[in-house]
C-alpha cells in the first residue's frame, strides 16, 4: 500500500542554493540563559495572552506567566526562575520595529523548576480532550514559523475526519537547518510526538515529508521508526524545490490532494504539523514540560560560527549571536527567518519567540541590495513559478493602481507570499511587497466598512425609534381630537349610530397606538 504511493508535484517553485551545510557541521549547542528574558504576550496567531503575574513576583522555571485569553491564543511560561521586573511595551520582532506588551523576567541564575504536571505516558488510554488540554497548557504553537496554536489545530471535531497526518520536515527555505538538526538528534522524540498526534486526530497514516537534501535526518527518522513498532508512518523524500514546505504544497506533494482555496487541510482529511511541533507535543505530554525553549539556526556569513542552538524563548537576538560566536565584519542584514520569507530587522535588541526558527546574519553577497525596480514587461516568468497558480503580474498591476477589487478578482488572498515571483522577475519588482500592501489596505478598508456598517445600523435603529415615538404621539393626538368631535356631534341625527361609530373609532385608535404596527394609525 505504502509502496504504491504516487509521486505528486506542485506547480512552479524555484531552485535555490540551499546553504544548509554551513550550519550543520556541529551538533546543537545549548546556550546559557541570559540575565533578562523578554516574553512578548503576542507571539502566536490569535489574541494576546493575559499576564497572570505582577511586577515583582518571583517565578520558577516553567511557571505560567501569561494565560491564553481566548480559544485561539497561547499561554506563556517562564523559561527560567527569577523575578518579573516589568510588564509593558518592548521592541518585538516585527519588520516595522514595533513595540508590544511583554513580560520581562530577570533571571536569578538558579534555573529552578516549578512543579510540573504528571507525564501522560499512557496517553493512548486517555480522553483526547485531556491531551488537548495538556497541549493547550503547554502553550505550544506551530514552530515552523506560522505560530498557530496547536491545541486549536488538533481539535478536529466537527470537521471531516482526518485520515492522514502530514509532518512537515521539508524545511525548504535556504539556510535554515533547525528542523534538520532536531531530526538528526531527536528522531525518537519526533516519532513519539507523531504517535500522540496520530492518536489525537485518529489519523490512519502519517507521512513525513522531507527534502532530499537532508539524507541524515531521513535516515535517523527511519531508524527511529524501525525500533518503534509504528506502522503507517512513512518517511517520504521529496525533491528539493522551494516552497515544498508550504502547507498546501506539501500536502499536494505527499497525498495528491488539493486543499481548497480559502480552505483548511482538514477539508481533504489532512492535519499538517511541523517536526519541531511534534517534539514539543511529546515534551508536554510525556514529560509534562511547557514550551520554553527551542532550537534556532544562527547562520550566514555575517556570523563567525554558524550553527544551531537551543535557546530559552525570550533571549535577545544580540545575546544569542554574541553567545554563538558573534558577528563577522561582513554582516549587512539581520533576517528573522529565511531569505525568502523572513523579515529584515532594523536592530538586534528583540527577543527570540516561539516562532523564531532562524537568525540569518547575511553578508552583502548573500542578500544583495534590491536592484532598481523596472516596469513589468509581462514576460510571465512569475506565472511559471507561482505555486498558488496565480497571475502575479495581474495582481501586481491592479495592486499598484490601488484597484483592490480587481486584485482580489485575481485571487490576491490565495497568495502565500512565498516570493518565487519576485525572485524570478527580470524587472526586479518587489511583487510580494505590493501584495502585502494591498492586503493591508483591504483589511483596513474592511475594518472601516464594518465600523461604518455599525454606525449605519445604529443610525437606522435610532431613526426607527424616533419614527415610532412620533407615530404614537400622533395617534394619541388623534384620539383626543376624536373624543372632542364625538362630544360636539352627540346631538346629530342618530345618536345611537354616532355612539357606535365613536366606539369603533376608539378601538381603531387604540390599536393604532400600539407600537408594533405604527404604519396603520387609524387604519386609513
Amino acid at each position: 500500500m505504502a509502496d504504491a504511493r504516487k509521486d505528486w508535484s506542485f506547480h512552479g517553485g524555484v531552485h535555490l542554493d540551499d546553504h544548509k551545510a554551513e550550519s550543520t557541521g556541529q551538533p546543537v549547542r545549548r546556550l546559557p540563559i541570559p540575565d533578562r528574558l523578554t516574553l512578548p504576550l503576542h507571539q502566536h496567531i490569535g489574541l494576546s495572552a493575559e499576564p497572570v503575574v505582577r511586577v515583582g513576583d518571583l517565578v520558577k522555571k516553567g511557571q505560567l506567566v501569561a494565560q491564553a485569553s481566548d480559544y485561539v491564543s497561547a499561554s506563556i511560561h517562564a523559561p527560567t526562575s527569577g523575578r518579573v521586573v516589568g510588564i509593558g511595551p518592548q521592541a518585538v520582532p516585527h519588520p516595522s520595529g514595533l513595540y508590544d506588551a511583554c513580560i520581562v523576567i530577570e533571571s536569578d541564575g538558579k534555573d529552578a523548576w516549578t512543579d510540573l504536571p504528571e507525564p501522560m505516558t499512557d496517553y493512548a488510554t486517555l480522553p483526547t480532550a485531556d491531551l488537548r488540554e495538556r497541549i493547550r497548557w503547554a502553550g505550544i504553537v506551530g514552530l515552523g514559523g506560522a505560530a498557530f496554536p496547536t491545541a486549536v489545530k488538533v481539535n478536529t471535531s466537527g470537521q471531516r475526519p482526518i485520515d492522514t497526518l502530514v509532518i512537515n520536515a521539508a524545511e525548504c527555505e535556504p539556510y535554515i537547518t533547525c528542523d534538520d538538526m532536531l531530526m538528526r538528534e531527536q528522531a525518537a522524540d519526533v516519532v513519539e510526538g507523531i504517535g500522540i498526534l496520530r492518536h489525537l486526530v485518529g489519523a490512519r497514516q502519517c507521512l513525513i515529508g522531507i527534502e532530499d537534501n537532508k539524507p541524515e535526518a531521513a535516515e535517523a527518522l527511519r531508524q527511529a521508526l524501525s525500533t518503534k513498532a509504528d506502522t503507517g508512518t512513512e518517511v517520504v523524500v521529496i525533491p528539493t524545490l522551494y516552497p515544498s514546505g508550504g502547507e498546501k504544497q506539501l500536502i499536494r506533494l505527499l497525498t495528491g490532494r488539493e486543499v481548497p482555496s480559502h480552505g483548511l487541510p482538514a477539508a481533504v482529511g489532512v492535519l499538517c504539523q511541523n517536526v519541531a511541533t511534534a517534539v514539543a507535543v511529546a515534551d508536554a505530554v510525556l514529560r509534562g514540560r511547557p514550551l520554553i525553549e527551542r532550537v534556532i539556526t544562527v547562520t550566514g556569513r555575517g556570523v563567525r560560527q554558524p550553527g544551531n542552538f537551543r535557546v530559552a524563548i525570550g533571549s535577545a537576538a544580540d545575546f544569542v549571536i554574541a553567545q554563538s560566536g558573534g558577528y563577522s565584519d561582513a554582516v549587512r542584514q539581520l533576517i528573522l527567518g529565511g531569505p525568502m520569507m523572513g523579515f529584515a530587522m532594523q536592530h538586534d535588541q528583540v527577543p527570540v519567540t516561539k516562532a523564531t526558527n532562524c537568525l540569518l546574519a547575511a553578508a552583502q553577497d548573500e542578500v544583495p541590495a534590491h536592484p532598481a525596480e523596472r516596469p513589468c514587461i509581462r514576460c510571465g516568468e512569475c506565472v511559471k513559478v507561482c505555486p498558488a497558480q496565480l497571475l502575479p503580474q495581474q495582481i501586481f498591476w491592479h495592486a499598484r493602481a490601488h484597484d483592490f477589487d480587481k486584485a482580489q478578482d485575481y485571487h490576491l488572498f490565495d497568495c502565500i507570499e512565498c516570493g518565487c515571483c519576485a525572485y524570478v522577475c527580470p524587472a526586479h519588482i518587489p511583487l510580494v511587497h505590493y501584495y502585502r500592501f494591498a492586503k493591508t489596505e483591504i483589511w483596513a478598508q474592511e475594518r472601516e466598512r464594518e465600523k461604518s456598517d455599525l454606525a449605519r445600523r445604529r443610525h437606522e435603529a435610532r431613526v426607527a425609534r424616533i419614527e415610532r415615538l412620533e407615530q404614537e404621539r400622533k395617534a394619541r393626538l388623534r384620539q383626543k381630537k376624536e373624543a372632542l368631535e364625538q362630544k360636539s356631534g352627540e346631538s346629530a341625527a342618530d345618536p345611537k349610530k354616532a355612539a357606535i361609530e365613536a366606539a369603533m373609532r376608539r378601538v381603531a385608535a387604540k390599536k393604532a397606538a400600539q407600537p408594533p404596527e405604527p404604519e396603520t394609525p387609524g387604519g386609513e
Binding site: V259, R332, M340, G342, R374, P387, Q389, D414, H428
Partner: protein
C-alpha cells in the same frame, strides 16, 4: 547595531530585462545574417539607421519626461524594436522613411503610452504599418534575393540609393527591385493563373520563396533557441504557425490550384519571424497560458485571411496589432484555475 532593511524575498534571481533583450538580439543574429546574405548591404544600412534613431529618440523622450536615461536605455528594448522593424523594411527604403518609422515606433507607440511595459501595441509593427500605409510604393519595393538576381547592389550603390532615393545612374527601379514571393503570388492569382503555372517561376524554391525559405529557417533556429532558454514560451509560435498551416492546408486541400501549398505560407514573408519574435513580444501579447494559445491561433488565422482576401500582401503586422487590442480581454477570460479551486467554479 543597525542593519539594512528591505522586504522579502531577500534573494533575487540572476535575470534582468537587459538579459532577456540581449538573448532576443542573439537569437535574431542567424536570421539577420541570412537576410544580409540574400538581400545585401541595404539591410545592414537600415539596421544601423533604425538602431541609432531608436536610441536617440528614446533618450530624447526620456530626457523630456525626466526619466533616467542610461538605466532605461540599458534594457536594450529600443534596440530590439529597431532591429525588428529594420528586418521588416525593404532593403533600399529611403533613409528618412526608416527614421520616421522608427521614431514613430519609439515615441508614439512606446513612450507616449508610458514606455516599456505600458505599450498596448507592438512598437515595431506600429512603425511598420505607419510606413506601409504612408509609402506603399517604396514599402513594397523589395530586392530579389541574391540567388535570383546573381548580383546584389554594392555597398556604394546601396548607400547611394538609400540616401538619395534614386536608382544608380543608368538603372531604373524596375530593373533593380522585385516583388516578394507573397506579392507575386497575389498578383498572379488575381490574374486567374493556376498555382501550378505560378510555381514554374524561378521565384519558387523547395517550400517557399527562394532565398526567403532559408531566411525563415534561420529565424526558426533563433526562435527555438529562445524557447530553449525560456525567453519565450512555445505557445504563441506553435499556435500561430499551427493555425496558419491548418487553415492554409484546409483551403489547399479543397482547391490546390487557387491556394498555395501550406508551407508556402510559412516560408515566405514574415510568418516565422512574426511567430517567434513579434507576436511573442510579452508586453503586448496575451500572458495566460490558455490565452497565449488563443492569441497565437487567431493571429495565424488572420494572417491567412488578410493574405488571401485582404488588400496587403503580407499580414503579420496587421494581425499582430489587431490581436494586441484583444489581448487584455483574452487574458481576463482565460485566467488559469488557481490552486485549490475546483474546475466548476471557474469564472
Amino acid at each position: 547595531m543597525q542593519f539594512a532593511t528591505g522586504s522579502s524575498p531577500h534573494l533575487a534571481g540572476p535575470q534582468s530585462v537587459t538579459r532577456v533583450m540581449a538573448l532576443v538580439l542573439l537569437a535574431l543574429v542567424p536570421g539577420t545574417l541570412a537576410m544580409l546574405w540574400y538581400f545585401g548591404w541595404g539591410l545592414l544600412i537600415n539596421l544601423a539607421i533604425a538602431v541609432i534613431t531608436a536610441v536617440v529618440a528614446e533618450a530624447a523622450i526620456l530626457l523630456l519626461r525626466g526619466r533616467p536615461v542610461a538605466a532605461t536605455l540599458i534594457d536594450l528594448s529600443a534596440v530590439v524594436t529597431a532591429w525588428l522593424l529594420a528586418l521588416a523594411l525593404p532593403p533600399l527604403l529611403p533613409w528618412w522613411q526608416t527614421v520616421l518609422g522608427t521614431t514613430f515606433a519609439i515615441v508614439i507607440a512606446k513612450q507616449l503610452f508610458g514606455g516599456i511595459g505600458f505599450n498596448p501595441f507592438n512598437p515595431a509593427m506600429a512603425g511598420y504599418v505607419l510606413l506601409l500605409v504612408s509609402f506603399p510604393v517604396t514599402m513594397t519595393r523589395w530586392l530579389p534575393p541574391e540567388v535570383l538576381s546573381g548580383n546584389l547592389p554594392s555597398l556604394a550603390d546601396s548607400l547611394h540609393m538609400i540616401f538619395s532615393g534614386t536608382p544608380p545612374a543608368g538603372q531604373t527601379w524596375d530593373v533593380i527591385s522585385g516583388a516578394t514571393p507573397l506579392d507575386q503570388m497575389r498578383t498572379e492569382l488575381s490574374q486567374n493563373r493556376m498555382i501550378s503555372e505560378i510555381h514554374k517561376s524561378p521565384l519558387w524554391g523547395d517550400f517557399g520563396g527562394r532565398g526567403w525559405e532559408w531566411v525563415g529557417n534561420w529565424f526558426l533556429l533563433g526562435g527555438l533557441f529562445m524557447i530553449w532558454r525560456r525567453v519565450i514560451s512555445w505557445r504563441i509560435p506553435a499556435s500561430m504557425l499551427g493555425a496558419l498551416l491548418l487553415v492554409a492546408g484546409l483551403f489547399w486541400a479543397i482547391d490546390p490550384e487557387t491556394h498555395p501549398f501550406p508551407a508556402f505560407h510559412l516560408f515566405s514573408g514574415g510568418a516565422i519571424l512574426g511567430a517567434f519574435f513579434i507576436a511573442t513580444d510579452p508586453v503586448s501579447a496575451s500572458t495566460t497560458p490558455r490565452g497565449q494559445l488563443i492569441y497565437g491561433a487567431l493571429i495565424g488565422v488572420l494572417v491567412f485571411i488578410i493574405r488571401t482576401w485582404g488588400g496587403y500582401p503580407d499580414a503579420v503586422a496587421f494581425s499582430v496589432l489587431l490581436l494586441n487590442m484583444a489581448a487584455p480581454t483574452i487574458d481576463y477570460y482565460t485566467q488559469p484555475r488557481i490552486f485549490g479551486q475546483r474546475k466548476s467554479n471557474d469564472a
